[in-house]
């Protein structure tokens, strides 16, 4: 009852009612486009759930997984890896100079996973049956069951990891302190779950060696997916940070601003080294299956475009950025990194999948599928904007400065050089 009253008072007295976002929506061009996308998405949602998959998609029996799985799920999960990468860097490896990057990364990861589950409903349909694989009929020999269970658990972990920001906003000190005490446990749980399902998403394709092009198919697919998720997450943290600096600069406090360059350069260095390692194991994958001759075909050119243009080049850019302390170059490299992961996941799930089928039977998404994906991404950005407008994400709540972390150590909020 007391908790109810606290939340009620907080909402009544809070700036939420007076906030310009709620009180008066400014019809800027960006807001108009956002509103159109959201209305369009709502219409497509109704069409999909009442008309079925055939109404809005180009999916068929040869191509049961389309852009909703290839982009929304595969790319969404990989790009949400920033959550486990940043929180493990800060809490497990003790790199406290990245502390201010943890909350934005956790928020992005939470929204990313929430939208993955949201988007999954569009593909599988019958949302009321979503809990079935976890609670009712467990297919314990299936990789999809493992992915489903991990995503379900990890979404909960990310939600709990993010709640301190909401509790600080609502002024619920006791419960906030209790959840902060769980930080280390949740971080370890998050890393374990991410290791499991990031790799399992790659392992899903092990069952289709005849469908996936040999250049992308490998016994090492789970390893590729897991390793690539690391630099995908780091690239996403840098990329999202640069957008936040541009559009949400006023929400950031001095600590966040002073630490941000160190985060960018530190993550650049790590991403660069991981990318070079990834490049190495991709070449080993080519060698072990003796797939060299495919490199001299059209598919080979596309494979090299992905591997050189979106792994080797950004790896080198990150390395030069880390050496020269060039934050701008690192931000540019992060765009390549993010696009590279999107390209890789789309190649594996759509482009190089069913590569032997005649072109008439190949899949290309309908505009409604693409519009639904755009709607889901837009929804994520709107929720992100709303949460960062109210909750302490880019700044520390004044009541909790010089706080203690889960180990009882005083978390340093002062800027330190990253190198």
């Amino acid at each position: 009852m007391a908790l109810q009253n606290t939340i009620k008072n907080r909402l009544m007295n809070n700036t939420i009612i007076k906030h310009p976002l709620i009180n008066k929506i400014e019809w800027t061009p960006v807001n108009v486009v956002t509103a159109i996308i959201l209305v369009m998405g709502f219409i497509l949602t109704v069409a999909r759930f009442f008309g079925g998959l055939g109404t809005v998609t180009n999916l068929d029996n040869n191509n049961p997984w389309g852009v909703w799985i290839g982009f929304d799920l595969m790319c969404g999960v990989a790009l949400a890896a920033g959550g486990y990468v940043t929180s493990s860097a800060c809490y497990i490896f003790g790199l406290k100079r990245y502390h201010s990057a943890v909350r934005p990364a956790i928020l992005t990861a939470f929204l990313g996973y929430a939208l993955v589950v949201f988007a999954l409903n569009y593909d599988v349909g019958r949302p009321w049956r979503l809990p079935y694989p976890v609670f009712y009929s467990q297919g314990t020999s299936s990789l999809l069951f493992e992915v489903g269970l991990c995503v379900f658990l990890y979404l909960n972990v990310l939600f709990i990891e993010f709640t301190p920001a909401a509790f600080e906003w609502l002024g619920l000190k006791k419960i906030r302190n209790f959840v902060v005490g769980l930080t280390m446990l949740l971080t370890i749980f998050g890393v374990v779950l991410s290791t499991l399902h990031q790799s399992s998403l790659g392992a899903l394709f092990l069952i289709a060696p005849s469908k996936l092009h040999p250049l992308w198919y490998s016994g090492y697919l789970p390893v590729y997916f897991f390793i690539s998720s690391m630099f995908a997450g780091m690239s996403m943290v840098i990329f999202e940070g640069s957008l936040a600096h541009k559009y949400l600069h006023d929400k950031m406090d001095d600590t966040h601003l002073s630490e941000s360059d160190g985060v960018v350069l530190g993550f650049s260095k790590a991403a660069s080294f991981v990318m070079v390692g990834y490049l190495g194991i991709k070449i080993i994958g080519l060698a072990i299956d003796n797939n060299w001759h495919y490199l001299f075909t059209g598919w080979g050119a596309w494979f090299l475009f992905e591997l050189v243009g979106f792994v080797a080049v950004p790896a080198f850019m990150y390395a030069v950025a880390a050496r020269d302390k060039n934050v701008k170059l690192a931000r540019i490299a992060s765009v390549f990194g993010v696009l590279g992961i999107v390209l890789n996941r789309l190649n594996i799930s759509l482009v190089a999948f069913n590569w032997q089928l005649p072109s008439a039977q190949r899949y290309f998404p309908s505009w409604m599928e693409i519009a639904t994906s755009v709607f889901i991404v837009t929804l994520g950005i709107v929720v992100y904007r709303l949460i960062t407008a109210y909750m302490p994400v880019f700044y520390e709540h004044p009541d909790y400065k010089h706080d203690e972390d889960s180990n009882g150590n005083d978390v340093e909020h002062h800027s330190k050089k990253a190198h």
């Binding site: 260095k269 080294f273 190495g280 080993i284």
Partner: protein, 47 residues
């Protein structure tokens, strides 16, 4: 130029041989890349 292998043994000897050579190359290349990456870092005293 695709090489023809008549036995699995031939195939494994060939691909494993190439793989081992690449791994040797990576063992040399990765530390060199690390030196390139950290070449301009300030030296931290570890003692």
């Amino acid at each position: 130029m695709e090489q023809v292998f008549y036995t699995l043994q031939d195939f494994m000897v060939h691909t494993k041989g190439i793989t081992y050579l690449i791994m040797g190359g990576l063992l040399v290349a990765l530390p060199l890349f690390w030196l390139f990456l950290t070449g301009r870092d300030e030296k931290n005293k570890t003692f």
